[in-house]
């Protein structure tokens, strides 16, 4: 089972923007005010650097999975321990976006607080993806990309009329500390290029692979930064009070006063793309776990993981702020180590005759 270049590119362009435009623009605006786009750009540059490192790792150990590289260089038990660590990381990192989307759907699409049952079918989808593995997810990404892209086009088209670039000024005048603080808090929504590390060994060798992946990431990053700037241009000083920017930015379009809120179509399309994005950590967590324990059966870990998440959401579904604070306090340092430092260290592993590339790219 291989993943093609096209699937990876489309997955990046679906996954990266669809999670970063709900609460994140408000988090950036809270600390960085009119420089919110800059705080977002810093994190995306960090992700771009991670992507370059991961592409270098893939090139260095071409044809081998990350597990095989670790196993051959550091031994079987180290490889298993590292994979178990990543399984835990992916499992935990799946929680916050699920909480965020649950709140988003309940607040924007419902008049009163709906029953918790409303969101739970999501776990059926994530269970299905967890069971089927990364290939099914990547194939779904091929379809969802077009939905997400058309949604962003519609949102941009409807929002541009109410944007005033005046509100981006004064540029770069926000205290550096606050902009960096915004970037730090926003890190929770980043690190998606890491998935490439777990695709290693399964990627179909194709021409201009690295260029295509970097270009698709750059396109997705541009959409995010553009949306952050657009958000600031529409709301100015009150951006900090606007959560769920995506559904709010469009409603000032004159077209809506005549036709009605057809912009909700865009919201629903982005939500469809986000379903894939939210499922991805579950898939990777199950992947890592099965590798770590050395068994191929995915049913039990997939079921257990999704049930755990379901129970967490059912119990703590009204405590998004507490969950976010906990993540900001304890999870970000672990995330930096696992997402940015550890993969970079992989590049330092020596290529021996055992873990040398099986074939030239």
């Amino acid at each position: 089972m291989t993943i093609t270049k096209k699937q990876i590119c489309l997955l990046f362009m679906t996954v990266i923007p669809s999670t970063k435009l709900l609460i994140l623009p408000t988090v950036y605006a809270h600390y960085a005010a009119q420089d919110a786009w800059l705080a977002g750009a810093i994190n995306l540059i960090l992700d771009a650097m991670l992507l370059v490192v991961l592409l270098a790792v893939i090139k260095k150990f071409n044809g081998k999975t990350f597990f095989e590289v670790l196993e051959l260089s550091l031994g079987k038990w180290v490889a298993r321990a590292v994979y178990m660590l990543y399984a835990v990381y992916f499992a935990i990192s799946a929680v916050l976006p699920v909480f965020e989307h649950k709140m988003f759907i309940e607040i924007t699409l419902y008049e009163t607080a709906p029953s918790v049952l409303t969101f739970l079918p999501f776990f059926l989808i994530s269970f299905y993806f967890s069971l089927k593995g990364i290939n099914a997810t990547a194939r779904t990404g091929e379809i969802l990309f077009f939905l997400t892209a058309s949604a962003f086009l519609l949102i941009t088209f409807l929002s541009l009329g109410s944007a005033r670039p005046y509100y981006l000024r004064p540029m770069l005048k926000n205290p550096v500390f606050r902009t960096l603080k915004a970037s730090y808090s926003g890190l929770l929504w980043h690190g998606q290029p890491l998935m490439l590390l777990f695709f290693a060994g399964r990627i179909k060798t194709e021409k201009r692979f690295r260029l295509s992946v970097i270009t698709s990431f750059a396109a997705a990053a541009f959409v995010c930064v553009f949306m952050y700037a657009l958000f600031t241009c529409i709301y100015g000083d009150i951006a900090v009070r606007q959560i769920y920017a995506l559904t709010k930015m469009t409603k000032y379009a004159i077209a809506l006063s005549n036709v009605g809120r057809f912009d909700y179509v865009a919201t629903l399309l982005v939500t469809a793309g986000a379903t894939l994005t939210l499922s991805l950590p579950f898939v990777l967590a199950v992947d890592c776990f099965t590798q770590a324990i050395g068994r191929d059966k995915r049913l039990v870990p997939a079921l257990a993981l999704n049930l755990c998440a379901l129970v967490l959401v059912a119990i703590y579904h009204m405590r998004f702020r507490t969950v976010m604070d906990l993540f900001e306090k304890f999870f970000i340092p672990a995330m930096i180590a696992l997402v940015y430092i550890l993969p970079t260290c992989t590049l330092l592993l020596r290529r021996t005759s055992q873990n040398a590339p099986l074939c030239k790219e």
Binding site: T108, E111, P170, I238, Y252
Partner: protein, 407 residues
């Protein structure tokens, strides 16, 4: 066999989940238990806040005729509490998604209005595109007014504040979002239209509204108007041409119709704006000229000259003579399109003087109507710390109005 059992069990589980899922009501609201609020009025009643909601009650088509809008009031220490009390009293769930107008009563305007409308900015139940306006007296009076233009006074009001406002310069358009953006800006300046109720007899209203009827119809109306005084009912229409200016959420001064118009000309594109030039020379005679202004392009730019803020106000308009009070010669009719230079200069002078007068008037009230402090912060940031305290009082206004003729 194993595969068969597995697939059947899976099918049963999926079916069970779907039955459970689809039999849920998803906490959706029953329309019969929902009050569709189309406008809200907020008044002060002693220490309490009184919220008046105008409701659109769904009715069958035969009932709909002659059914006035329903208004319900609730009181509480806060707006949210008052709103909740409306629901408690009526048994309806107050649905605010359709609320397009928010009227603030005179009592609310005595303090910081943000204290009253902050709830609406925080809540997701009400769209922040809802138009804001102030009532000359009680907001409740505006919502209970018997308007001849629509069954619900809120609808006739929203026609003035929304539909007309988008093209006309005589009404200030302010949504909840725009008001709060202004309030939280460095200038702390915001504004909203002031709604006055004008009483008129229903007969007057009909005559005015159907002025373009055929002569026969007019004649019939004239004969029937003799009976009108007996049946005449008091009808109320709204005037929203005045603009209330707020500094830090407190109303500090009021602009009249002309001032409202010229302020709109410098802030946004308008399709209808008019000025009246009195006793000016037209077609060789002294005349009152009604000049239409089109294609306005306003620009406000703050510069620092010799350490002093200078606000450059540039306005370009294209003028056309709409009407005069003198009869014109055939050549005079042509000059309706090509506006004589003397009239253009008169118009420029009139508008410039109005801007200057408005600037001095608002400055005296410490009201930053041209958002000088905000411009200083955003466009001249390096001077902001030094000049922020004297920005408004120390700014020099340079006005350049250019009126051109249709050719």
């Amino acid at each position: 066999m194993r595969h068969f059992v597995k697939s059947k069990i899976l099918l049963i589980i999926v079916a069970a989940v779907f039955v459970l899922y689809l039999s849920n009501d998803f906490s959706l609201l029953d329309i019969k238990e929902t009050a569709l609020i189309v406008a809200l009025g907020i008044d002060k009643d002693g220490d309490e806040i009184e919220v008046t909601a105008q409701l659109a009650v769904p009715k069958s088509s035969d009932q709909a005729a002659n059914t006035p809008g329903t208004t319900v009031s609730g009181k509480g220490q806060t707006v949210a509490q008052a709103l909740e009390n409306i629901g408690v009293r009526t048994g309806w769930y107050p649905k605010l998604s359709f609320c397009n107008v928010l009227v603030l009563g005179e009592g609310i305007l005595h303090g910081n209005v943000m204290e009253s409308i902050d709830f609406f900015i925080r809540t997701v139940k009400l769209q922040d595109t809802a138009r804001l306006c102030a009532a000359e007296k009680k907001a409740k009076d505006v919502l209970t007014a018997a308007s001849p233009l629509d069954e619900l006074s809120a609808f006739s009001l929203s026609k003035i504040l929304q539909k007309d406002g988008e093209s006309s310069s005589t009404v200030t358009i302010t949504s909840l979002r725009e008001f709060s953006m202004g309030y939280y800006s460095k200038s702390a300046f915001s504004m909203m239209p002031l709604v006055k109720i004008i009483e008129e007899k229903s007969g007057e209203s009909e005559g005015g509204a159907k002025g373009s009827d055929s002569p026969t119809a007019s004649a019939k109306k004239a004969s029937s108007s003799k009976e009108a005084p007996q049946n005449a009912q008091k009808k109320q229409i709204f005037d929203a041409t005045a603009t209330l200016l707020f500094s830090k959420g407190v109303p500090v001064c009021c602009l009249n119709k002309t001032q409202t118009m010229i302020l709109q000309l410098s802030r946004r594109k308008v399709t209808e704006a008019t000025v009246e030039l009195k006793q000016t020379e037209f077609d060789g005679k002294s005349a009152n000229v009604f000049l239409a202004l089109r294609q306005n392009r306003g620009r406000l730019k703050l510069r620092i000259i010799n350490g002093r803020p200078t606000l450059d106000l540039r306005l370009r308009v294209v003028a056309k003579i709409d009407d005069t009070d003198v009869t014109t010669t055939p050549s005079g009719l042509v000059s309706g399109y090509v506006v004589p230079n003397n009239i253009l200069r008169d118009a420029e002078r009139l508008i410039s003087d109005a801007y200057r007068e408005m600037f001095e008037m608002t400055r005296a009230c410490d009201c930053d109507v041209f958002e000088i402090a905000d411009k200083l912060y955003r466009t001249q940031n390096r001077y902001y710390a030094a000049l922020k305290d004297v920005a408004l009082q120390g700014t020099r206004l340079e006005i350049k109005v250019v009126a051109k003729s249709f050719k």
